[in-house]
């Protein structure tokens, strides 16, 4: 089987449509994961044992099971309970939930790295719990986490082809439908790989920059 450049040109617009959806899913999923992760990290520190234990176990459970099965669960099981989600929404929720549990670990480490003295100083200044979090702890804890979070978001980007299994028309699904129409697999599947490789290599450069910009903790 020969590599056919004319065929590549022909299928390019379809694949680019898929790239758009892939990037959209990654961005929405990352935003959801960033918020959920913070929520999970804060709830795990709750003084209420029942809350912190339950959230801790759920996060552990989500992290220990495959994303694909979770996507199936959201897409196929939730409609039985009256919650019918469009494929892309289900995919974004799945990605956000799965990577939110990873992000929670990053937040936990970042929050633990804020020196004790800062907590004590906040207490000495008579700040409330909410004020302590928003004005003292999070502004110090967040910047050093950025590279680690970005790392997980790149990993999430590479998992987006799984969304094709719940009928989201992202890059992989477009490639598969093109391949099934023309009975040529070599170009579409190889191009999907090339797209991912190129975007990943770019994001590695971005990650290095983030590490230089935010990774160092100024004390």
């Amino acid at each position: 089987m020969e590599w056919d450049w004319a065929f590549v040109r022909e299928i390019m617009p379809t694949l680019l449509e898929g790239v758009k959806i892939t990037i959209l899913a990654t961005i929405l999923g990352s935003a959801l994961a960033a918020v959920l992760g913070l929520g999970i990290a804060l709830l795990r520190r709750s003084p209420n044992r029942i809350v912190s234990r339950t959230v801790g176990f759920l996060a552990e459970f989500i992290r220990g099971t495959p994303l694909l099965v979770q996507l199936y669960f959201i897409f196929y099981v939730l409609p039985d309970f009256g919650l019918l989600l469009p494929p892309l929404t289900a995919g974004v929720i799945g990605l956000g939930l799965h990577y939110g549990t990873y992000a929670a670990e990053v937040y936990r480490a970042g929050i633990d790295n804020v020196p004790r003295g800062q907590w004590e100083a906040a207490k000495a200044c008579n700040l409330s719990a909410g004020q302590t979090w928003t004005h003292i702890i999070l502004p110090q804890a967040l910047p050093p986490m950025i590279p680690a979070l970005a790392n997980y978001f790149i990993a999430m980007f590479k998992e987006t082809p799984l969304l094709s299994a719940i009928t989201v028309l992202e890059l992989m699904n477009q490639a598969k439908s093109v391949a099934n129409t023309y009975y040529r697999y070599i170009e579409p599947i190889t191009l999907v790989g090339a797209f991912f490789l190129v975007i990943s290599l770019f994001s590695v450069v971005l990650l290095r920059w983030l590490e230089r910009r935010y990774g160092k903790v100024e004390r």
Partner: protein
């Protein structure tokens, strides 16, 4: 009322395939990790370059694309693979690339004085690696290897998409035959989680065993 006993049998068969894939994939990943991880530390530029290309390529493209490439494109180039072979190959090479970085990091974390001691004892490069560096580095690698094995277990769910009858695939079969979605998917989620717990318990006890007698030697 649905009689679940026959379906349970189906799910258990799937579990067996998942376990087989995880074990075989892990063995391949371990071999690749040591080859590529030590390759990146080689004296020879060609070996270093080859190892780096392998690692960046497999970390840069997603497991999903690699699996599809192995299953759909390799046959066109003359390598006919069964779904199981394609699955083990893609999983092993993908996770091996991640684990290779773990091997490299662990070997580099061993103190300079250990290498100097090797030279002082007149050990060759390979002898020093085999008897002094690797036994110490392996202990550092173990916890991360455990996490990698769990990632591999979770990635096995993707092989259901190339029609290999693993847990996820069998759950889909049960869903198609019974029309019930909650029971099959909830069951396999629990099985995946139990397997992940088993892996993390296994690595923890192996770590305890291997570090016996090393108290005080290691920091």
């Amino acid at each position: 009322m649905i009689d679940w006993s026959g379906y349970l049998d189906l799910i258990l068969q799937g579990a067996l395939v998942t376990i087989k894939l995880t074990l075989m994939g892990s063995v391949l990943a371990l071999i690749m990790a040591f080859l590529a991880g030590l390759g990146r530390l080689s004296r020879f530029f060609a070996v270093r370059a080859l190892a780096t290309i392998y690692i960046e390529f497999f970390r840069g493209t997603s497991i999903f694309v690699q699996l599809f490439w192995a299953y759909f494109v390799l046959p066109l180039l003359g390598f006919e693979l069964t779904p199981l072979q394609a699955g083990v190959l893609a999983l092993g090479l993908n996770v091996g690339a991640y684990a290779a970085e773990v091997v490299r990091g662990a070997v580099q974390s061993i103190g300079k004085e250990q290498y100097e001691a090797c030279t002082a004892l007149n050990l060759g490069r390979w002898q020093g690696m085999r008897h002094v560096i690797l036994p110490q580095a392996f202990l550092t690698m173990l916890p991360t290897f455990g996490n990698n094995a769990i990632e591999l277990l979770k990635a096995t769910s993707v092989v259901s998409l190339i029609s290999l009858a693993d847990l996820t695939f069998q759950a889909q079969v049960v869903r198609a035959q019974t029309g019930n979605t909650l029971v099959p998917f909830a069951t396999i989620l629990v099985i995946y989680f139990a397997l992940a717990m088993l892996i993390s318990w296994g690595t923890r006890s192996l770590e305890r065993r291997l570090s016996r007698g090393l108290d005080g030697v290691r920091v």
